[in-house]
Structures are given as C-alpha cells and as structure tokens.
Assembly symmetry: C2
Homo-oligomer: 649 residues x 2
C-alpha cells in the first residue's frame, strides 16, 4: 500500500515501480472477477485503474476507519467499473481479495455490479451515469460548511459527460467555490456505441473550460504525470484558484491486455475463460489460477459483511409550535417558511457550521425560503434551474450531518427528478423534500405546472415517507416533526391559502396539544353514515360537503390522511365499518390516495361502497375553484356522490 506526500514534486522511482506492479495485480483481479461472475465491465475498469491507484495514493483515507468524518471522499461516478474500484480498494487494504473474487455480482453480496456503499471505501452508489459528480459536489460543499480541510475526488467516465446533469453540477461547483473538488475523467474515447465523438460530438475540454474550471490534460497511464496533476490540485497550484479541477486523462480502454485495447466490445462483457487465461499470462500470472477460483466460487456462500452507511447524525432543536388561529388565512407554504426560519434561528448558530440547510431551484419566494435565506445566507443554496443536479447534491449533503430541505414545485421536485430521488433512496440519504404547488390547486400556470401525479410516483419509491398537511397548523407541526425524523421524507402542499381547520367548537383542530404522528389519521369529524377520506387542499371542501349533508340529516365523517406513508390502515378500516367511503383528492384518481385506499380495503377482505373522486384528466389553466368545478370536485358534487353511495342497496 502506497501513500505519497504531495509536497514532493515527483513520485520517485520506487513509487513508480509500485504503481506498475499494483496495476498488474489490480488488472488480474478485474479479469478474474468479471470472468468468474460471467458479467461485468472489464474494459473501463482497466482504463480507469491508473486513475484509481493514483488517487488513493494521495487521498487521506484509512481502511481501518473508512467512514472517518475528516477523510477525503472518493466518488466513482461511472459505477460500472466496480471491478476496478474493488480491485484497487483491495490493493489499499480495505478488504481481502477473496470475498471480492468469490462474490462479485452475486445476490446478497456487498460486491454488487455497480459500486455500492455496502463495500468499505465506496462513498456513493452509482450506476445511472452523470449523477456522481452531483453527489461529489454535495460532499465537497459539506466539507466546506463544516470547515474540514478534506477533499473530494470524483472519477468519471467520458461517455457520461454527455448527460446534461454534469454541466449543471459543474456550474454549481463554481458557484460554491469548490476548490476542494477534483474530477478525473477516464477519457478512453469509447462508449458502448463506439467512438464517443461519433456517438455524440463533444469538445470535452472546451465544454469544461467554458464553465470556468481548471482543466489539466494528462496521459492516464503515466503515473508520474497523474501524480503531478493531482499534486497541483492538492497544493492549489492551478490557473484559477478557488475553482474546481478537472483532470482529463487520456487512456486506452482495456489498457494492459493486448487484445482488449481500444475494443468497445469489452466495455460490458467479461473475457471468456480461455481469453482470461491468456490475459493472465500476459500480465505474468499463472493462467491456471482461474480454474481454481472457478472451482472455489461454485461452492462458496455469500459471506462478506455489508459496510453500514447510515447518515451522520444531526441534533436539531425543533422549537415551539406556532399556533395559527381560526381567523388566519394563509397558505401552508408560508407556515413552512416560518417553521424553517425558526429551525434556522435555533440551529444555525453564529460562529458554528449551520445544521439546517435549504436548497431551491430559482423558486425561493414561491417556496417561502426567503426568511431562511436572510437568517442563514450560508446555509441557503440557490441552485438555479438545475433540478437534477440539485436533488442529487442535496441527497449527498443530507448524509453529511445536516438537516437538508430541498424545496421547489411538485412537478420539479417529484416528476422531473424522480430518478435522482430513487438514487438517493438507494444511497440511504436523509433528505427532506418539501414541495409546494401540488395538484390542480396550482391554478393558472396550467397542466405543465400542476403536479397531479405525486402520490403515484412517491408510492413507487421505497424509503420515502409521505406527509401532506391539511392546514398551516399541521404544516408547522409536520415540519418540526420532520426535523428530527431520520431518512427521506416528502412533505407536500398546495399553492393556495386554506382555512385553518377547526374542531366542532371552532378551535384549531391542530392546536396546542396536537402532536403529529406518522401512520395516524385525523378524524376531523365523526359521522354515523359514511366517511370522506381526504387530504391537503381537499380537506376543507370535504368539511363543506359534510355540512351540506348535515343539513339533510346525514351524518358523515371526515378523515384526514396527512400521513400517506406510513399509511393509517386501522383508521381506514374503522371508516369502512361505518359505511360508504368517498375518497377525495387533488390528484389523478387512477394512482393516488383513492387507489391506495382501495388496495388496502381489497387486501383487508372488506367490501364497502367506495367512490374515488379526483382528477380523471390533466386539468387546464384556470383558477383552482374553476378547475375543481370542472372536475366535479365542489362540495356540492362531493355531497351528491356520498348520497349516491348511501342510496346504494
């Protein structure tokens, strides 16, 4: 294992010799692992090996304590080079090679096909290209905020430079002065489809320089050149101080094996055993060892323990609830903004790193983050119209000991970045996504801006809780609750002002004694004949529908589902005991709250007259009340629907 002192201008002959030998040892592991697994990506692994070996020689990481908070972070964005990464981590002592060779790509093993944090030394699960740099940016920013003088090295493929998210990340890195971030691009000029320039014309260096980065071009198989470039980054000896560094490393796919070089075929296919033996010979190893490993792998179980990688804890003072009295007429997003500002006041203390961070994408005013920004300018991250990058960077920040709120409209924070949230979930982040402007309630901005599908998407994500407050009081309580909730949480709300929900005596329903509990629904009103099950901006419409029915002598309850996940199953089943259920939502009815209720009822074996009232088409531009009227969702429509169900034999 080699560690180099960057103060030395050259790596020295001994180190260079070690590099050459380590390259051979790692190449052997790459070939063995992929051939043994019968799948994997040897070509890019070989072209990236030099970069990996050089980075770990300079990175301050400790295999005995791979999650030390002050470590340098190494993010590998082109996660398919997992055989290369695992081989180099072996070389640097993070784990022995045997479990890697025996378990690579086997079900249940840490040594997954694309790098996963289950393996010690891996900082971020990647695989969908173009996202790793955003995570690296989040980490680099976290280090700056915490005042830790560590660095982030991000290795990337050249094909993934085509993803738009990458240029978003580059700009963000400049905005936040991430001179502690170094990107190394494995520029082998081949992707699955062949020559990168033929696949998609791109002047990589010109594009990176246009974003104001330092660019250093080197031969990626020349360890001395790699060392010198990395050293310049580490010492800050670059033309544009204060800016990140990109090392464009010219490499050869399949480097080191004569018949693999420059052949895109080996991007994603392992050598068959005969060619693997031939390659081992070329590297100077005994070709026969493959057969020994094959034999061993046949009988081996899955043994290697996963590396835990829970987010760093953060201690948050949630503050005191704000009480909105029944005369107040405000929107939930303003209550969110107020709670967020309160969290900042209590947790972002002068002279200390902030604990609560906020990110938005050119919608600070609309999502009510202005007071937060004014209180904690350093904790606020205006990230531009760059939602893909921001969602991923926010996820990475949330693992670094911060409470992170990412806020934008529903269509941007859910529909546009669904896959980034999915990758966050796979990375076990602890992100709080707070979206305003859900549903048709968005109004005049029209269908492109009306997020009427958030539940369908969020219920398709694992490891995201889903909370939908009904009024400003409940918003305030939920935001404070979420501040200390581990894991990923989504909180969603509409755009419009809504009445404060009251109890039958006219007092705030979510008053001083109310505590939000996940998995519990709110019986806003009890009824004897049936129940409206609803959430968000439809709650007050259901309460109005209930009044219409009450005047006719019909007693109908209103059950508010603020906690969609975990779902209050028992409350729904209790409603089913009473009588008909009309589920009312500001969402496409095919895959929203109603569909969820129907599924739970079906699985419970209960039948009850059931109607799902929501949107059946994308709504149009218009005032919310107009839109709801056109969709048959006025209190009059809802009460009439309940009457239909009540009349059913």
């Amino acid at each position: 294992m080699l560690k180099l002192d960057p103060r030395k201008p050259e790596p020295g002959a001994e180190a260079l010799e070690w590099f050459e030998e380590a390259f051979r040892r790692c190449a052997r592991r790459v070939l063995l692992a992929t051939t043994l697994a019968g799948s994997g990506h040897p070509g890019g692994s070989l072209s990236s090996l030099g970069l990996l070996l050089a980075v770990y020689a300079l990175a301050r990481v400790n295999p005995e304590n791979p999650r030390h908070p002050e470590r340098d972070r190494v993010v590998v964005s082109h996660g398919h080079i997992s055989p290369g990464v695992y081989s180099v981590l072996c070389e640097y002592g993070f784990f022995p090679e045997e479990p890697f060779l025996l378990e690579f790509r086997r079900a249940g093993s840490a040594f997954a096909g694309h790098v996963e944090q289950a393996v010690p030394g891996v900082e971020w699960n990647t695989g969908n290209l173009g996202q790793g740099l955003s995570a690296a940016c989040g980490m680099a920013r976290a280090l700056k905020l915490k005042g830790i003088p560590a660095r982030v090295f991000c290795l990337m493929g050249d094909g993934e430079q085509q993803k738009g998210q990458v240029i978003e990340a580059r700009r963000w890195a400049v905005k936040f002065g991430l001179d502690n971030l170094c990107v190394l691009i494995d520029y082998n000029r081949l992707q699955i489809g062949g020559d990168t320039y033929q696949v998609m014309p791109q002047d990589l260096v010109a594009e990176i320089e246009a974003t104001g980065w330092n660019v250093l071009e080197v031969n990626g198989h020349d360890f001395a050149a790699l060392y010198r470039a990395l050293r310049r980054f580490v010492l800050g000896e670059v033309p544009l101080p204060g800016r990140p560094v990109a090392i464009v490393a010219h490499t050869v796919m399949g480097h080191g094996i004569s018949f693999m070089e420059n052949d895109a075929k080996w991007h994603g296919a392992p050598l068959p055993p005969d060619l693997c033996r031939k390659a081992l010979s070329e590297l100077g190893f005994d070709p026969g060892e493959l057969d020994g490993w094959m034999e061993k792998r046949r009988s081996a179980g899955v043994s290697f323990p996963h590396q835990p990688h829970e987010p760093e804890p953060v201690e948050i003072d949630p503050g005191e609830p704000v009480l909105y009295d029944p005369d107040t007429r405000t929107d939930c997003r303003s209550a969110y903004g107020k709670a967020l500002r309160d969290l900042a006041e209590r947790n972002n203390l002068p002279g200390k790193p902030p604990r609560v961070l906020g990110l938005t994408c050119d919608l600070e005013g609309s999502v009510k983050m202005t007071a937060f920004r004014k209180h904690s300018p350093r904790a606020f991250h205006e990230s531009g119209i760059q939602e893909h990058h921001t969602a991923a960077a926010a996820g990475a920040l949330s693992k670094e000991g911060f409470l992170v709120f990412f806020s934008t409209f529903g269509v941007f924070g859910v529909d546009e970045v669904y896959n980034q949230l999915r990758l966050n979930a796979l990375n076990r982040t602890a992100l709080k996504v707070v979206c305003t402007h859900l549903g048709a309630d968005v109004g005049e901005d029209g269908p492109t801006h009306q997020c009427v599908d958030y539940l369908g998407l969020l219920l398709s994500l694992k490891d995201f809780e889903i909370y939908l407050p009904a009024d400003p009081n409940q918003t305030d309580r939920i935001i404070r609750f979420v501040a200390n909730r581990p894991g990923n949480v989504f909180v969603g709300m509409g755009r419009s002002k809504v009445p404060v929900i009251t109890d039958e005596d006219g007092r705030p329903f979510f008053g001083r004694d109310y505590r939000f509990e996940p998995g519990r629904a709110d019986w806003l009103r009890r009824g004897e004949h049936g129940t409206f099950v609803t959430c968000g901006v439809m709650v007050h419409r259901c309460l109005a529908a209930r009044e219409i029915l009450r005047e006719k002598g019909i007693s109908v309850g209103v059950l508010n589902i603020a906690s969609v996940r975990p779902f209050p199953r028992e409350d729904l089943l209790a409603a089913a005991e009473i009588g008909p259920i009309v589920v009312v939502e500001d969402h496409l009815v095919e895959n929203g709250l109603g569909a969820l209720c129907a599924r739970i009822l079906a699985l419970s074996g209960k039948t009850v007259p059931l109607s799902l009232k929501g949107l059946t088409e994308y709504p149009t531009s218009g005032k919310p009340d107009e839109i709801f009227a056109r969709a048959g969702l006025t209190p009059e429509d809802l009460s009439a629907e309940m009457e239909v169900l009540l009349r059913r034999p």
Copy 2:
C-alpha cells in the same frame, strides 16, 4: 401584418416603423391580458416581444392554415411568455385579440398560462423549462428527413439555459446537422431569483460556442440588427455552415415600460390596475380601456375554439407475424429487434423518406436495434447518454408523420425521463417507448439498473397505453399492432431469455391465429380453484407453479395481463368469480399490477382472497433466479401462497 423578403440586406424604414408600432400594440396586449387575468408573466413577454415580431416577419407561416406541413415551425421554450406569444400571433392574424384578452388563463380556454397547441400558431406546449429546444430539434430533424426546406425557430429564456437538457439538445443538433434550426435567446439577465449570473454563474456564449454552434450576438430591441441576424441564418451566411445558429439577443426585462425595466418582480406578476393604466399611457393608449375590458371579462364566457393538433398520420405496413416455435429460447427484446427490422424493410423504402424511426441512448445492442440501424441508417438515431433530450425530441418527431420507437432500459426510459414523457402526453404525441431490462430480471447490474417501478410511474401518466408481452410471439404481435396504434404506447420487457408460452397441447399460445387486442387478457390456463394473475417474466414461473399444484390435485388458472392499460377488467372479475387470486409480478408490490388489480376489485365491490406477490424491497445485484428466490417468487413459493389462500376459510 408584415412579411419580409430575406434577400433584402436591410428591413427598410417602413418595416422598422411597423415594428415599432407593432411592439406598442403587442405590449398593450401583454399588459392588458396579465392584469385582466390577475396573473401571468409580463416581464419576459416584453423582453421577448422584439424577437417574436422579427421571427414571424421572416417565418413562412400562414395564419389561415397554421398546420400546413411545409410551414416553418416556431417553438417557444420559455412558455411562460404566453402573453407575448399570443399578442404577436394576434398581430400576425392568427386570431382576434378579444378572445385572448377575455379568456387568458381562464379554465377551459385555449389561452392557457403557458403556451399550448390549443392556440393556433403554437407548435409545442411548454412550461417546464429547458425542454423546448429538444422538441425544436425533433421538428428540424423531421423536416430534414422529409426533405422539406422549412426552418425551425426556437425562442428561449436565458434562465432555462441552466437546464442540463439544453446542452444535450445542442450537441444532438450538431450531430444531425440541423442548419435549419435557429435559437433566439432572450438574454435579459434576470430570472426569478434575480441576476442570472448571480443565481448560477454561466458564460452563455462560451458554452454555446463550445458545442460548435454559430453564435450571433445582437441587441434584441434593435429590429434592424435582429433582421440582419435572422437573415444570416436564413441565407446560411454563418461561419460554420451545416451547423445550427444561436442568436443571443441582449434585452431588458419589462422593456418599453419605464417602471418595469430590469425589475425581476415583473417576471411572474401582473401589474395592478393602477400601474397597468399608467403603462398604457406610457405606450400612448387610453388608460381607461382597462376598465372596459375588466367589465367585459366579468360577464364573458369561454368561447375560443381549441386548435386541433393530432399527430400527422403515417401509414405503416405491419408485415407478417414471425412465429417462434416452442423449441426457441430467446428473449423478447430480440423478437422486438426482429419485428422492428421487418417494419423498416417494409416501410423505409429506398429513395423515400423513412417512415419508421428508431432512437436509443448508447444501448443499441442491448435494445436490439442493430438490425434496424443496418437496414435504415438514416432512420436510426444514436442519441448518446442524453435521455432527457432524446425522450423529448422523439416525442416531437412522432407528431411529424413518423412511427417513432424510443428504446432504452426501463430505468432510463421511464424513471429518468418521466417528466419528459408527461410533457409528451400533454403535447399529444404518438411515441412508442419500448423499454427492455424491466424488473429484477435485469440481474447482476443491480438496483440502479433494475426498473421495479415502471407501472407505478406509467399508471401515473395519462395517455400512455401499457403493454407487457409474455414471450417472443406476443412481443412480435404487440410491436406490429403498435405500429398502427395512434397515440403514446409503452411496451416493456425483461432482459432474460424466456420460454415460448404454449397451450395445453404444447403449441405456441400466441400462434398463427393470435391477434393482440388491447384490454383483453390471455387465459393461458383455465383453473377451477383459483387464478394466478401475472405478466412478463413471471408468466412462465406461474405456469410452473400451476404444475406443482396440479400434481397435488389443485386446478389453478393463469391469466396473463399483457394489456395493463387499457386494463382487462372483465377478465379479472371473471377470475374473482372462480376463487382466490395471487397476483405475481416482477415489480415493487406497493404500486404495480397487484395494486391495480386490488383497486379494481375493491371498486367492483367484490371480495376474494387476494395476495400480491412481488418485490417488497429494492433487489440486489445477482442472477435473476437468485433474486427471485430471495424475494420469495419461485414457483414453489407461488404455489405455496396459493395453497394458503385456498385454505383460508
């Protein structure tokens, strides 16, 4: 209405005078419309007005026939400047101003908050920023393929230049030689969050030049300069012939109204009536007219008829089915590739524009498009690792008289581009999204690549049919069916080889006489005691589970749901008449086929012992059979589950 001849080197004094007057008239409409609606975006509308007026003076468009196939296309990517667009379309005679002023942003009107094709002259619904250029690229490519010498003008905001999708589109435009595409950027340097460079540092000109475009910088309020720049594009008098042109137009937000200029406040807020009157005075109009319009709007109904915008028709010969006999062992994606190649042979004829197009994102081999590419190189579009752009461009192509297949893995074609598909649906495209590598069947590539949420997402989209073939024969028939199916269709399949499904006599179930019908399920086996309801790669596992039960004397049917949308409701209800139902899927169980079946059963008022067998967590890397075993989805597990249900009292 002004039309200019680009052969003239200068617009001439008369035209310049007309421009100045037209600007005043349009500015008046912008201010009236937004103030009357009480919402909208006057600031950017005013800064873009000059660009719009100049473009329409040169664009070959006919207000009498706004959908003429040989017209120039004008795409407005920053759709929030709808008041500006509608004002200029009025000016050029596309419709009278009265319905626009009375109905702007009213529910049910064509004059939506963000531009929609419902309005004559609008080519593409936009609103979510950064997508319009991709659509414009699709149109420009379509014109090239059809040999129509028309042009595409794409107007964009400067804020949206931050979206990564924009640079993807720029590169694609270079790759496909779109010298018939001209982008005009309204460079007013303000976005919602203020100064664009403060929000996100970006050297716009350097970034565009880095992608190899022609860049012309002009004063966007100087009509003569705008004319000269546009003329250079039209005549091809640019430094890089064969490349697209970007006109970076320096403008002032709120241009023309003293107290609105350079104030980001007016990006998304209308003038209050008093300021609107003041602005009308500044423009030289009677400020009192506002009140007249206000009065009129109060009582006006919604009258303006929507412009129809169905996709251009395309006539396709679907060819003859390929029969895969029971000895065949192949994967559905190979059957897709073969059918696609056959469609190319029959419809892409020498010397004529191709009718069938294919797009992929660096996965040609995996999605089996190679034979198609070899037959129809011009119809094949390798679009690089740029899924966001490609999904949107493919959508635009599908409206231009082509049958368009967009193929990639499920995680990229659904999860990554969900919002692009949503915008396609809003634009009523006719795209065929064929995704391979669905579900845990992806195997060793692991959770980042396993699309186990496609149904949750696709069922959240309107206007997308969903077909999931069970074997190569059904794949072949579905692809040929889809070739003549209007609208958007998703076809999904796994990665692995699957057996040919046979009937009880061992003949192919989807044989010579089989015709695919949307909304109909396939009773692969009838049973007396219960039913497995399933699809895709789980079908053969259910057939095996059925055999296990048969040996125990239990008779269980297998119902294949290849048409998830439209859903075969009657078949499911028929199954519920028989006995217990076990729904089996290669998908997260919380929001997939099982959830859909449960909902339909609940709404039908039927109770039946029901179990949903699918994935409850993200799977790991591993061989599919290993993964399914870990998830409790082997034939043995499935038969055991059915037995549990059958024993239930």
